[in-house]
């Protein structure tokens, strides 16, 4: 029975094992589709393990350009004996499954379209060397899918060529395997499922990039000079990509490095090096995840109180403790916003797209130096490690802004200065960099109580005034930080979200409109402390759903702290966390459950 064709609008899930080389096959598959102009996104679901455990890769094709995870799987490629039963059981009637032949159950569940191919035999024919066969077996399913779905074989070949650009032998073998899969499917399978692809023009000018690579590129153009880091998933690839970019783009004419990278002994040391470097005038950064951020807590307070610029990326993962180290969440919003002891408030930047990882990547340094305070860029695993279609990055729109720094000439003119004096009324004092050759340049940086000139002080009034100034400084910062983005035209219901939730919200708004006639306006915050526009948005809507990727509604909690009391009752929680990237259906259901409640 042939159903209505479903073109460029379905999700493929490939179930394999960690370490089986499926990453190359999946990248080739994703890229071939991308090259055909079909909007795609790829999400890797992998365990905290190096080899042998189950992993899944989901490719979503969406004519309309949706890139959030889709909850339902339409087409399963079952390569992993350990999970095949579960994977198939999760499919809905009407879905299709392509088995590695030995995995095929005697009686596939009713309502499924089932295909089986002997991938071992196909790989054997493509690869005479027995010991390499295991590595190319996965490429066979790429070819088979090309045949089943109509993916152009030339695009598969181009993608293979690119994937193995520097390895001729691997290229050859993988091409042969893809062709063997293609031929095997053409000869052995009769198409019964409705899923097809067609070339379209959805990706003109676009890139395929993960958020961590984008953040690394952004940091490069932010003029980072010191990177101190300690490995942790899902942030390591940001540091590693940056190291690659620095090596290529940041050598002086004499071949020497205009940057320093230290792989620190732990996150405490990474944070210390970043603060030491920021104090001495470098644009310094680190990248970590929740567990690393918690180790940086004491330094975060010092950075806040001693007013030292620093950029700290937190690519969030699902906690608490080591939690689900390879799953995604937005669970560090609250703990980072107030990171450290006593009265601290930290600046958060909240990129939601790969483009923003780039943009906030360089802007973070300008912000940190303008405010002389640590800036935390909160990304997450979904945004950071998964692959997104993105527009080409825009070169920074202005020169590097170093903030308030006094040079020798300024001191010659001024005679001296008060490091923590609020001369401009914006809460930000002027600083000098160590090494400035002027007798009045030096000041004493400390975390202990200090007066305007940074002299030790336990005077109650002085301490109070200093804390008040710091608070003023961050309040003034609201309008200096990346502004929230607002969409919609005067609906009654509003949605507020941040970071990678964006993609699910965009799609959920369409679902709410198309399925239920519910119009929504949408505000995406991109920084904390929140801009005044956030308050205005809540004031302008009767009900505001706050989308959160954590259990307790951390974004909602931050909003509640910020809003006038009268507006707080308008907020409604839409929090969800299971470690998987947020999908639109979940948001839609969370909203409707409350809209429909009596």
């Amino acid at each position: 029975m042939q159903r209505e064709p479903v073109v460029n609008d379905f999700a493929i899930r490939v179930a394999t094992q960690n370490g089986s080389g499926s990453q190359s096959s999946n990248t080739v598959l994703l890229r071939a589709l991308f090259q055909m102009g079909i909007p795609v996104s790829g999400k890797n679901l992998f365990p905290s393990n190096i080899a042998g455990l189950p992993t899944w890769y989901t490719i979503r094709l969406s004519r309309r350009g949706y890139v959030a995870r889709k909850r339902e799987v339409d087409l399963l490629v079952a390569m992993n004996p350990a999970t095949v039963a579960e994977d198939v059981a999760a499919l809905r009637p009407g879905a299709a499954v392509l088995y590695d032949a030995p995995l095929r159950p005697a009686a596939p569940p009713p309502g499924l379209v089932a295909y089986a191919l002997p991938f071992d035999q196909l790989a054997a024919a493509a690869c005479p060397e027995a010991r390499l066969r295991k590595l190319v077996k996965n490429m066979c399913y790429v070819g088979a899918l090309a045949s089943l779905l109509g993916i152009e074989l030339e695009e598969v070949e181009r993608a293979v060529g690119r994937q193995f650009a520097e390895k001729a032998r691997a290229r050859e073998l993988n091409l042969a395997a893809a062709r063997a899969g293609f031929e095997g499917a053409r000869a052995g399978l009769v198409k019964e499922d409705p899923f097809r692809v067609e070339r379209m023009d959805g990706n003109r000018g676009k890139l395929l990039v993960d958020g961590n690579t984008a953040g690394a590129a952004g940091s490069l153009f932010g003029g980072v000079t010191v990177l101190a880091w300690y490995p942790i998933t899902p942030s390591s690839s940001l540091a590693e990509a940056l190291i690659g970019y620095l090596a290529e783009h940041r050598r002086a004419k004499d071949g020497k490095a205009t940057y320093a990278v230290v792989q620190a002994e732990d996150e405490l040391a990474a944070a210390g090096a970043v603060l030491g470097a920021g104090w001495a005038g470098a644009r310094a950064m680190t990248a970590t995840s929740g567990p690393g951020v918690s180790l940086m807590s004491e330094f975060a307070g010092l950075g806040y109180y001693a007013e030292i610029p620093a950029v700290i990326w937190d690519v969030q993962r699902a906690g608490p403790s080591t939690g689900l180290p390879t799953r995604t969440a937005q669970g560090d919003l609250l703990s980072t916003a107030f990171l450290s002891h006593g009265d601290t408030r930290q600046v958060l930047l909240l990129p939601g797209t790969a483009e923003e990882c780039f943009e906030l990547g360089w802007r973070a340094f300008d912000v940190a130096e303008a405010l002389q305070t640590p800036v935390f860029v909160l990304s997450d695993l979904d945004l950071g490690m998964n692959v997104w279609t993105a527009s080409p990055f825009a070169y920074p729109d202005g020169p590097i802004r170093r903030g308030k720094v006094l040079a020798k000439e300024d001191l010659d003119r001024l005679g001296g200065f008060a490091r923590y004096g609020d001369v401009d009324g914006d809460g930000v004092g002027w600083r000098t960099l160590p090494g400035t050759p002027h007798p009045a340049a030096a000041y004493f940086t400390r975390g202990t109580g200090h007066d305007d000139r940074s002299a030790y002080s336990e005077d109650p009034g002085t301490f109070e005034r200093n804390l008040a100034r710091l608070s003023r400084k961050l309040d003034r910062a609201r309008e200096l930080l990346p502004a929230p983005l607002v969409e919609g035209a005067g609906a009654e219901v509003g949605i507020v979200a941040c970071g990678s939730s964006h993609h699910a919200v965009v799609e959920a708004r369409d679902q709410l409109r198309e399925e239920r006639g519910l119009e929504t306006d949408y505000l995406r915050v991109r920084a904390w402390p929140f801009a005044g526009a956030v308050r205005d948005f809540v004031a302008a809507h009767r009900r505001v759903y706050v989308v959160d990727q954590n259990r307790d509604g951390q974004l909602a909690a931050l909003l509640k702290l910020d809003l006038p009391e009268a507006l707080v009752p308008r907020l409604r929680g839409a929090a969800h966390l299971d470690g998987l990237p947020l999908d639109a259906r979940t948001v839609t259901e969370l909203v409707l459950a409350q809209e429909d409640a009596p």
């Binding site: 676009k206 890139l207 395929l208 490069l220 932010g222 003029g223 000079t225 010191v226 101190a228 970019y245 783009h249 940041r250 002086a252 071949g255 020497k256 490095a257 205009t258 940057y259 320093a260 230290v262 620190a264 002994e265 405490l268 040391a269 944070a271 210390g272 090096a273 603060l275 030491g276 470097a277 920021g278 104090w279 001495a280 005038g281 470098a282 644009r283 310094a284 330094f299 010092l302 080409p392 990055f393 070169y395 920074p396 020169p399 590097i400 000098t432 960099l433 160590p434 090494g435 050759p437 002027h438 340049a441 030096a442 000041y443 004493f444 940086t445 400390r446 975390g447 202990t448 002299a455």
Partner: protein, 341 residues
Amino acid sequence: MSAQDQNRIGLTVLDYRGGKSTLCAGCGHNAISERIVEAMYELGIEPERVAKLSGIGCSSKSPAYFMSRSHAFNALHGRMPSVATGAVLANRRLLALGVSGDGDTASIGIGQFVHLVRRNLPVIYVVEDNGVYGLTKGQFSATADAGAKLRTGAVNPLPPIDLCALAIQLGASYVGRSFSGDKRQLAALLKGAVAHRGTAVLDVISPCVTFNDHAGSTKSYAWMKDHEQPLQELGFVPAYEDIAVEYAPGTALEVTLHDGSRLTLQKLEEEYDPRDRVRALARLAAPPRAGEVLTGLFFVDPAAPTLVDALELVDAPLATLPEEAVRPPPEALRKIVDELR
């Protein structure tokens, strides 16, 4: 010197002074501050070029009490090494002077200390070692000797960590021990440390008069006066002074440091050669003779590559490189973007 005497860059000793010390009168740390002031003054170091870094503790407060024309960073307990690492990488022209305590370095900060040393970061790292936590009122630190007594009578059951042996083993390129009361030796060691490029660790026994200066303490003034056992008589000849030094053959050694200055070592222990890492470690590992506290320059390797060398940094400070040097041009972005298409 008198207070008006100018050094070779035209500064007086007052230009090297700091704020009034709030440490206890008689605290060894104050004497160390004085030696630092003298050494920097006598060497004619520009105070603005010095970055003073410290952790937390009485000792770590002391940068406030010397060289107020130098930038300072009083960091966190045990975390000065990482802050120093960042600062030196940001500006390799700074003369970094770290001041720490034995609690700060040998307990909470031992991890950071070990890694600073392993990287041979160019820094003078002074441990003001009194065997106790002064600022928290007199608990044993990890450098307290086994059997040493607190004022309360509590006896330390554990062996000490020898920071010098640790530093030598892990890659520090200038390692010595001294006593805050031994003016000549400490001055020479400090000057040598300034002239050295690499990690210079100086473990300076610095009695805590309030909590650890009684009978039964092995870090008291009295104990040190009786038990200090110098390895050599140290002299320092700055690069700008061309003085020939005369010794009886076989009893002396001269080490030329990074900036051309020379350390002269009149051997008191015939066999000792501070350029030999293995012998230095062996000497420190040997059981102390009659409770001796060995002092002197234990190890020096003026040619050891530093972290700054390993990273092949440009000569100018990273902190103040112009935009052209740190923000690649639009072509670079185009190339990166093309690679992602």
